[in-house]
């Protein structure tokens, strides 16, 4: 029991905010191989309204996943100046939080800094939370 256990999650390898889309690449960590079969999707949950969800197909090869979303989908008429969306990977049974927990870097929030994507007056930026989970921050320009 001396080993540090990291619970099952979607370990992010790369985040690509580019050309109005955000692409995520990573590996499913902590699930037996047979449990990674089936069809998976990327699930975004609006933190202030957990019933508001967006779903995208995720491509799985072995434990490696890849998925992407257009940032335009994140626009909403009822936004506060700053809104967050949390990212999970799900096969309909388990929901795995996306994050980066398997490397040695502490304080990822300030070290992995991703560029902001813009759609209209909405700015979307992926970021690591203080718990090293991956979320999206949406800023509504002008109205703030």
């Amino acid at each position: 029991m001396g080993l540090q256990r990291v619970k099952a999650h979607a370990e992010i390898a790369e985040v690509w905010p580019r050309d109005g889309r955000i692409r995520l690449v990573g590996r499913i960590h902590g699930l037996p191989a047979r449990d990674t079969a089936g069809s998976w999707e990327l699930v975004l949950t609006r933190r202030a309204h957990p019933d508001r969800r967006l779903r995208y197909a995720a491509d799985l090869k072995g434990d490696r996943f890849e998925s992407e979303l257009p940032v335009a989908d994140l626009a909403a008429p009822d936004y506060a100046p700053v809104e967050e969306w949390d990212i999970h990977l799900s096969d309909g049974h388990v929901e795995l939080r996306a994050g980066k927990h398997l490397d040695d870097i502490r304080g990822k929030k300030k070290i992995y800094v991703f560029p902001e994507q813009h759609v209209g007056n909405l700015g979307v930026r992926p970021y690591y939370t203080i718990k090293d989970n991956l979320s999206l921050e949406c800023r509504t320009g002008g109205s703030a």
Binding site: V15, I105, I111
Partner: protein, 412 residues
């Protein structure tokens, strides 16, 4: 005659002993070694803006300050004359320096008040050894430390890096020093040529320890470190990495340090889409641990004095890819043995050399072993006895060999 101590008191004068720069760190290392060898050592800070010294300093090393600029350090006095003097102080603090050439990179830290206080301090010294550690302090020492103290000037920068007005003052004033100490062989030649008849010696800075964890050549991390400002050339390193990211997607470049160019560098990372591969790590108090995680070190500087973090990296068995900039890298590295030297300010050449090391784990391992051997000649045990020998010699010359009978040691 009245001085009966076997060894003279050694004072190191730093601009800001409470800061974090490389010069400060190496001077503290020297002080620690000297005090451990039985010398009486004092670190004198020209100004003080912080409460605590930022590097490990032996308790036996005295620390003192000439002008304390911390908030609350100066209490406005009462009484008419005192208040007049106080106003005068404020005035002088706002008045630009008179004795320091504008081209001195530390010019903005000086003013008439700091100058006056430093001059008064230097005039008060009548014995021992005064080591000044940057041009501005060297110039003041040459002109004003004239009451019997033995003077040594340290130069941590190569001559060509100094602006013309500073070079001119160097030529005028450095011949008054008992010894001018520089860091590399190339510096020694250049300063000796400028200063005929002046004793110019090379003593490199020492790394703080040679007892370091060896890095693993399997690691796919490259590391660079330094203040985020133009001298360090990270603006050339980032585009160089952009050329490698497709062939070596699993590699990461970690740049340690903080500084005023952080947002410019961040933009460069965004422009080249390197946000997954090039990380601005910020300042770390545990650089040794971070160096040990990498498998090579990159030096992209436009110029250096003697790049100590590079040598520290080598003490962790890290090979180096470096621009052949003035001065230091070529003094330390043997191309193809413990690292790769490439044409200065050429990002393509830097990228090619990094690619060569990234593609070849055996090369990283071999060069890493060679690197640790090179670093050994910059260990405290190799370097610090040379300071002792120099100070002993100078003291003997001044007071006659009899004054220090028994402890005499010639320097090589």
């Amino acid at each position: 005659m009245t001085d009966r101590r076997p060894l003279p008191h050694v004072r190191y004068l730093l601009l800001h002993a409470y800061g974090r720069g490389g010069t400060i760190r190496t001077v503290m290392n020297q002080a620690n070694s000297l005090v451990a060898a039985g010398w009486s050592v004092e670190i004198v800070s020209a100004v003080r803006r912080r409460d605590d010294i930022q590097f490990p300093l032996d308790d036996r090393v005295q620390a003192s300050t000439v002008v304390d600029l911390r908030e609350g350090a100066h209490t406005p006095p009462s009484g008419l004359v005192a208040r007049w003097r106080d106003r005068k102080r404020d005035e002088l603090l706002q008045t630009p320096a008179l004795h320091i050439p504008k081209g001195e990179f530390g010019y903005r830290y000086f003013n008439r008040y700091v100058e006056d206080r430093l001059i008064a301090y230097m005039k008060s010294l009548t014995s021992g050894i005064l080591v000044t550690t940057r041009p501005a302090l060297n110039f003041l020492s040459a002109d004003h430390a004239t009451n019997g103290v033995i003077r040594v000037a340290q130069e941590h920068m190569n001559l060509g890096t100094h602006r013309k007005d500073v070079q001119k003052r160097i030529q005028e004033t450095y011949p008054r020093f008992a010894t001018v100490a520089v860091l590399t062989e190339r510096d020694r030649e250049e300063y000796a040529e400028l200063l005929p008849g002046t004793e110019v010696i090379r003593i490199p800075n020492a790394v703080h320890s040679l007892d370091q964890v060896a890095a693993d050549p399997k690691s796919k991390i490259a590391v660079a470190a330094g203040r985020l400002f133009p001298q360090k050339g990270f603006d050339m390193l980032i585009p160089a990495w952009a050329k490698l990211v497709e062939s070596f997607p699993e590699w990461q470049l970690r740049i340690y340090g903080s500084g005023e160019k952080k947002s410019e560098l961040r933009n460069l990372i965004d422009v080249h889409h390197l946000y997954n591969h090039v990380l601005l790590m910020g300042h770390t108090d545990r650089l040794d641990d971070e160096l040990a995680k990498a498998s090579f070190y990159v030096l992209s500087s436009r110029f250096e004095g003697l790049p100590m973090v590079m040598i520290e990296a080598m003490s962790h068995s890290l090979p180096v890819v470096s621009f052949d900039c003035p001065t230091g890298p070529a003094d330390v590295l043997t191309h193809g043995v413990d690292g790769l030297l490439v044409a200065p300010e050429d990002p393509d050449a830097l990228a090619d050399a990094m690619a060569k090391l990234m593609a070849d784990e055996a090369m990283r391992a071999d060069m890493g072993v060679a690197a640790v051997l090179t670093a050994a000649s910059y260990g405290p045990d190799a370097v610090h006895p040379r300071w002792e020998a120099l100070f002993t010699d100078l003291h003997e010359q001044r007071h006659g060999t009899a004054a220090v009978a028994g402890s005499a040691k010639g320097h090589a």
